[in-house]
Symmetry: C2
Subunit: 448 residues, 2 copies
């Protein structure tokens, strides 16, 4: 029987492996020691083939169930770069952006504006103008104030802008509060229940320079449960039917956002994409038949579910320290050369991660450990409780999987620590797609 990789495939990129015999973690065909030697640590290692395969899987599943009019908008906020935007363009996906900055990255990658959707609860006038000028497919409108702005700016530019309306269908997906959306008490969208959504639809229909094409919702993040998605679809279809009934206008686009959960640690059990989309398709068909509307073009916005599992962070251990706890037990503190500046999710959301020793296989017994960063802050903890080999020493390399989403994108320069590079690996070749910051980058902002 062939030896199998020690890594849990639910958490690691497809092209990462660690075998008993060779000992080292390899990603995209490159040994971690080689990556460390060439690019230093901390570093985000992105498995290009895995990223693209996940994107293509979403694309194909959407086409399978919802036909050629279905679209997958990759959510830039999870992680964006020129390189990944080029891959998405080549692989036939679309992109959603929330700001002028995210739009600038997509445009720098020559991403077709006809496949860009613009989000945000507070788009600036400049952001709206830029979006209309370059010809984005949709602006997702979030407030009456914004409808007025879009109408007026489009008029000034002699254009008619296609929009979706962001609706709040009143669903509280069971997830961490700060990443749950679409229950009523949120900053985003127009509430269906309160009548705000219908008012916004009528306003948009009456605006000369706006073409209202559909509705949108986003019910949360890191969702493991398809029931919330199905409920959202049902409410959005009913809204489309209500609008048709009351105003004779049938919207033909429905975008139900992102939120597909991923595995961070053993035991996490995210939904299979195909299975969920099949169920959603069934709910959609049933609901559209019930309310006598045509099946709209469907779009989704996965970000984390594509980039999250495709990236791994490599750190080097700097210090190892045993601390005696009050109960007399010992905890080993393993300090690495990054921390809350490159991964704030543990501090921010109590997020959990796993880690493996990457540069060698250890047969030492496991010991109760805490993985911490190098910031001057007690809360700078990457993994609060983890069993790690008791023979870890400075210079050893640790790899943390599933750091692709909201790692680099939320990174800071706290303590003037330089943000890590993102290195794409594929078939034995590595390429910097975002370079490591330098002290001179930070000092460039100083006018002291």
């Amino acid at each position: 029987m062939a030896e199998s990789s020690r890594l849990n495939p639910a958490i690691w990129p497809a092209n990462a492996s660690q075998w008993e015999k060779s000992g080292e973690l390899t990603i995209g065909g490159i040994k971690s020691s080689q990556l460390v030697a060439d690019f230093g640590t901390p570093a985000f290692i992105l498995d290009e083939a895995d990223f693209r395969a996940r994107a293509i899987k979403f694309r194909d599943a959407m086409h399978k169930f919802f036909g050629e009019n279905a679209h997958v908008y990759y959510a830039s906020k999870a992680f964006t770069s020129i390189a990944t935007s080029k891959w998405l363009a080549a692989d036939g996906l679309s992109i959603d952006v929330c700001t002028g900055g995210e739009l600038a990255v997509a445009l720098a990658a020559k991403f077709p504006p006809s496949r860009i959707e613009v989000h945000g609860n507070n788009k600036s006038l400049e952001e709206i103008e830029e979006a209309i000028k370059v010809g984005v497919r949709f602006i997702v409108a979030d407030s009456l104030i914004e409808l007025d702005r879009i109408n007026s700016i489009a008029g000034k530019l002699g254009k008619r802008q296609s929009i979706l309306l962001r609706l709040t269908p009143g669903i509280s997906a069971h997830t961490h509060e700060s990443i749950a959306t679409a229950h009523e008490d949120v900053k985003f969208g127009f509430s269906i229940a309160s009548g705000a959504a219908m008012l916004a639809a009528v306003t948009a229909i009456n605006a000369a320079n706006i073409k209202l094409e559909g509705v949108h919702c986003h019910i949360g993040s890191q969702i493991f449960d398809d029931a919330s998605f199905i409920l959202a679809i049902e409410r959005l279809v009913k809204f489309i039917a209500d609008l048709k009934k009351s105003h004779g206008i049938e919207l033909d686009h429905l975008d139900f956002g992102g939120g597909f959960g991923i595995s961070y640690v053993d035991g996490d059990d995210p939904m299979d994409v195909e299975l969920v989309l099949e169920k959603i398709h069934h709910a959609l068909v049933t609901q559209c038949a019930k309310f006598e509307i045509n099946i709209p073009a469907i779009a989704i916005e996965p970000g984390r579910a594509i980039v999250g599992p495709s990236m791994v962070t490599l750190y080097q251990i700097g210090t190892v320290k045993d601390v005696v706890l009050e109960d007399g037990k010992t905890r080993t503190y393993i300090s690495v050369d990054g921390g809350m500046s490159d991964n704030i999710r543990p501090s921010l959301y109590g997020a959990q991660y796993s880690a493996v020793l990457a540069n060698r296989i250890s047969s030492a017994p496991l010991t109760s450990s805490r993985l911490v960063g190098k910031h001057c802050e007690t809360g700078d903890i990457i993994i609060r409780d983890i069993a790690l080999p008791s023979d870890l020493v400075p210079g050893d390399v640790l790899a943390i999987p599933a750091t692709g989403a909201y790692g680099r994108s939320l990174a800071s320069n706290y303590n003037h620590i330089l943000r890590p590079p993102v290195i794409a690996v594929r078939d034995g070749a590595a390429k910097i797609i975002i370079r490591r910051e330098k002290i001179s980058d930070l000092l460039a902002l100083e006018e002291g």
Copy 2:
């Protein structure tokens, strides 16, 4: 009777005021409308005179109680820049840095290395070497591994490096867990109780290229209670006495770190610096007499207590939206042009802030509001619950006080939002000390 400013002086910089008659918030003698016109929003406005007065107050109080050998190390991690470092240098303070990046800022300001102290639980070899080369006053050693590194690098450079030992005196100051330090189960320092501290002291004494000069502790952040400080002092003095008794060596430096709380909202009641230092002085004298040691040179490390209240964030309102809650009440969502990228403390620590309408006086009734940012995240909340005038409109300017500490220093480019500038104001003149980021700064890291 003279009209008084509407601002609570406990929360606002000394040179900020808002009068009924003139209507506008002014800081450092400049109207907020002028600041917005000249520098845009969001922007951090730093009251230079207030910053320097707070720094000087610490310096003078320390000298008053502990004599000329007392030192105030400003904690760079709260906020650092070349400009503020120059002020601190001119005003006779010292600086503590945690990384090579923070050291680089101090050195770029030509800060005298003899007044720099280097912290960190996981200093890199390069950071240690740089610190020793430039001749910093103290490296605060945090682990046995690090003692070995300091000794070896100092030896290689033909130097003998002065150090303090970071001790954990086993005190849990009553504050938010992630900013509480010095109870035993933390990454920092050597535990006194476990014997690790004594072992470290003996190791340092026996290291040829290390000069052990004293001890250090840092018991937490945003502390409102002098009892924890006094207990820490007592334990450190006892440790010095124990070392003297067992090894005949009397350390003559004691640095009890930072942690002085500040007011963020009405009702916060931080300790008066002079009063606390007086109490600590009394405890120190008593304890030193009791254990028969000389009174050591004392140092402290305030960061937040200097820069926190001296800075104000100006935002412009982009959208205003009423949301009907489940109980039928209405909440007004006020979206501004920044958010968790420039102030992550509410999301990270549940931190509370206040806000005032800055560009005019409103006599409209107050309404239950939530101040949110422009990020694509439900948790992007700056102030969860605040009563604000019901007539706020897009374009109005809101000012959030007490954002100087851990605002800009923890800022990210989440959603590719550009980090705000820091503008120093004084006597009617404004000066950019950190400029606003540009899209080109972000794209400069792309190698896609």
